[in-house]
Amino acid sequence: MKRVVAAIVIMAIMLGSGTGILLWLHHGIYDLLDDIALAEQQVLEGDYETAFTTLDQAREDWREDEIYFSRLLRHRELDTVTVSLEALPSYLQYRDYASFFASTSQAKRMILHIWESELPSWNNLL
């Protein structure tokens, strides 16, 4: 009977933490996507200094989140996002807008992929 209770408790903890992690991931992912979209808008408007600041803030937030994300998620996808984000300031500095937008697109797609792959949807389950 003790084992059954332990199994129920462990399952409840895993289900609870799984849901909690999903919500936390949603928060972190969409904050980052918003920051990238804002930086893109600022670049399009020619406001490069503010875009630098926005990107710095986004990278800082990502570094903090990545520490926790890497304990739960596959590292390869996280590394792709990190590499894409780290390249953005250099593209901006040398006014390589094509590469800048290519890199933001790659980062956004990978961020969305991380989020979508964690959703308990039929596509992911089957």
Partner: protein, 237 residues
């Protein structure tokens, strides 16, 4: 994480169904669901070890899920006979009153060679000695011999039994120089009594490698290496 958890449950169900479909021939001593857990856990456990890009939680969650699911399923099978039959199957009688049930053999996909091999493994070389043979849910064959072929027991010979109906069952009371409390409780003796018995055999309790005691207080003691090599059996009724 939820995906990992749910996918693990789905894979578990699929593998259990697959093994049930494969039948008893494929199984060893384990119940089908236990075998599934054993196979999956051993396989999943290697993933985070082999691939550093694989998070530890990604390995721990499916293993915990499998183990918990197995415990819950086994608890549920205790309550539900139907579920137990669904998950573990039912024992099948392949020899009844000394006659082989060929239809059951076909259902189980047992050949005569398989059956004879298992009977020989159980010590039955002549089919005519067998009264009943049952294939258990674990795939093991248990045999009940015909009444005329049963081994002779003390009861048949009307012999007096030492140690009563339960016989002499030695219980470990000292292991590697230490008292085994459960053993002492089982025999209904105290540590002092056990120590006294050890001294009666010429040793201190801590000098003994093992000491056993039966229900009727027969002592068997083996000293540790380096002490006097004498294992003594003595009755202290």
């Amino acid at each position: 994480m939820l995906v990992t958890l749910l996918r693990t449950i789905l894979i578990y169900v699929v593998v259990v169904c697959g093994l049930r479909l494969m039948g008893k021939r494929q199984l060893g001593e384990l119940q089908p669901s236990e075998l599934v857990v054993t196979i999956l856990v051993s396989d999943i456990a290697t993933l985070p070890i082999q691939d550093p890009g694989f998070s530890l939680a990604g390995g721990a969650v499916p293993i915990l899920t499998l183990v918990c699911f197995e415990v819950l399923l086994s608890a549920a099978t205790l309550k539900s006979r139907r579920l137990r039959r669904l998950v573990s199957g039912t024992p099948r009688i392949v020899i009844r009153d000394g006659v082989i049930d060929q239809r059951e053999m076909k259902n189980l996909r047992y050949s005569v060679d398989d059956l004879m091999e298992l009977l020989r493994g159980g010590g039955y070389f002549d089919l005519q000695e067998v009264g009943y043979a049952i294939v258990e849910t674990t795939g093991k064959l248990n045999v009940c011999p015909k009444a005329a072929c049963h081994p002779v027991t003390p009861q048949d010979m009307k012999l007096p039994l030492s140690g009563g109906d339960m016989g002499e069952f030695p219980i470990l009371i000292i292991s590697d120089g230490r008292m085994v409390k459960k053993g002492l409780e089982f025999c209904g003796i105290t540590e002092e009594w056990a120590a006294e018995q050890a001294r009666a055999h010429g040793f201190l309790p801590e000098q003994l490698f093992l000491m056993t005691c039966t229900q009727d207080k027969q002592i068997y003691a083996v000293p540790k290496d380096g002490f006097k090599e004498s294992a003594v059996k003595e009755e202290n009724a």
